[in-house]
Amino acid sequence: MIESNRKLIAVLVFPIVALMFLAGYKSYLVNTGSEVILPITGYDPRDLLSGHYLTYQVDYGVEEICNGRGKMLREGYVCLNPKKFSFSPINNCQQMIKGICKRRNRLDAGIERYYIPEDQAKDLDRKVRSGKASIVVSVHPSGTAQIKDLLIDGKPWRSSKNN
């Protein structure tokens, strides 16, 4: 229980400032990283549409991702240029994405989910299944990746939604 007005103001302002910082940090990641387009595929046809977001697997164009991790969760690194996978940070890599190996051939880099409007969920689900879908990702030198857009047949999904 807080009786002092100053302390009450501090505990109320702190979450607002922290949330503003979080939003600002995400915005910074989206706008300052180097851009890359990666194709996506539905790895589980039953689970492609989960609520109001699409879930998919990113095709990094690298073979043998997350193999030999055992039963443990481990950090994994994909280098996009040159194409390579490793369980430790890769030196001399121009674009590297960091993630967690949860199972064989599956790296979770926090870019496997795309939020979609409720009324267009089914239409987008059908397009991702049938067309060539890809995501535009902003990649930072630290390996943090952030989604910028979803492309259907190479075009932003918003411009292709009436087709």
Partner: protein
């Protein structure tokens, strides 16, 4: 009011209270704001409903609204709620203060959801809950009612549980030894409740943490009994997984011993309950695989906790624990009888036993509570 009027009449008849004092009490009670817990309950329910509505609106993801407008609207709402909390605090409107505080708490969580949606972050739910509980810990402390701290504790401990099972560095330790995680979290809840009581007294936060940790203790007992009885996979004891639990039990024991609000007998009962509780996680490793031992151990922990709660005048918690003791006792009865319990005679005996126990409890509830309350004092 009707309840207190009845009581006052009873006390006057028993010559415990004068008519003048009774009139004074009734006048005082009549001047107090009516039905405060019902009013507060409905106000908080309203706030929770509004909060869920905000989350649903965000989940619907209005594509027509640009992300910057969504975020601006959200932060304006959050700031307005924060102002509402401050205003009701200054005006001393405790019911409305709690309502706006809970709405603010839930809107903070909704904002994390909105940021995830706008920037398409692929994080896990536990990460959102952990972030939320870290930034709103102060909000839970500001509350004068147990609901906001209880909501916070639920988010915080749920986040810790899933963090233990899903983070890269904790999952290798706990994924195959999750009882160790359950043990550590229930002990952490107990320790937080003890520290809160020692530092701030019997306030809303202490009550919320006590109820939460008691629920965690009971859930842990259920988990460990189920694992011991049905599903124990002997992976060998992993002391690294149990280290947090051992450290916490040590700290909790120190907190119990140095507790100035309880007497020596209450402290010994607490320590004994604690030792039996921790031991129940280790029976399979000690080669004990008897259902009867598991049941006796659980019944002992529950009985010790019930006696402790009674001596602390926590009558509602005491009654819940007694009901749980009754349920566990019945399960033990079925376990001991085995197939015999499902025969005609067995079912008649079981039914009669349930009727007898419930009737006896109903008749003697008050007397048992009074007896238990005086036992450790």
């Amino acid at each position: 009011m009707a309840h207190i009027e009845k009581k006052i009449e009873e006390w006057i008849r028993a010559d415990l209270l004068s008519r003048k004092a009774a009139d004074g009490l009734l006048t005082y009670e009549a001047r107090k704001p009516a039905g405060s817990w019902v009013l507060n309950g409905f106000l908080i329910l309203g706030a929770v409903t509004v909060g869920i509505g905000i989350i649903s609106l965000i989940a619907a993801n209005w594509d027509a609204i640009p992300p910057s407008a969504k975020l601006t609207a959200d932060f304006i709402l959050l700031s307005a709620l924060a102002f509402g909390v401050f205003k009701t605090h200054v005006q001393g409107k405790s019911g409305y203060f709690e309502m706006v505080l809970v709405a603010f708490q839930i809107t903070c969580l909704a904002t994390i959801g909105l940021i995830s949606q706008i920037y398409n972050t692929g994080g896990e739910v536990y990460q959102a809950l952990l972030a939320w509980s870290l930034i709103t810990a102060g909000v839970a402390v500001a509350s004068k009612n147990a609901f906001a701290p209880f909501l916070w504790a639920s988010g915080f401990f749920t986040a810790l549980l899933f963090a233990g099972l899903q983070t890269v560095w904790l999952a290798p330790i706990f994924s195959e030894h999750y009882p160790a995680l359950v043990l550590a979290l229930s002990l952490l809840g107990g320790l937080m409740a003890m520290v809160c009581r020692a530092k701030f007294g019997e306030n809303a936060q202490t009550q919320a943490l006590r109820v939460w940790s008691l629920m965690a203790f009971l859930m842990s007992l259920l988990v460990v009994e189920t694992i011991n009885a049905f599903n124990f996979k002997d992976t060998g004891i992993n002391f690294i997984a149990y280290y947090p639990g051992y450290v916490l039990v040590f700290l909790l024991a120190i907190a119990v011993i140095s507790n100035k609000n309880s007497n020596r007998l209450q402290n010994w009962v607490s320590l004994l309950a604690l030792i039996l509780f921790v031991a129940s996680f280790h029976y399979p490793y000690l080669g004990i695989k008897s259902d009867i031992v598991f049941a006796v151990s659980t019944l002992s922990v529950l009985t010790l906790l019930a006696l402790l709660m009674a001596s602390l005048r926590q009558r509602k918690i005491f009654q819940v624990l007694v009901v749980l003791i009754g349920i566990r006792f019945l399960i033990l009865y079925f376990q001991a009888l085995g197939g015999l319990a499902t025969t005609g005679v067995g079912l008649i005996a079981s039914g009669a036993l349930i009727i007898f126990l419930v009737s006896w409890w109903n008749k003697k509830r008050q007397a048992i509570a009074n007896w238990a309350e005086g036992l450790l004092t």
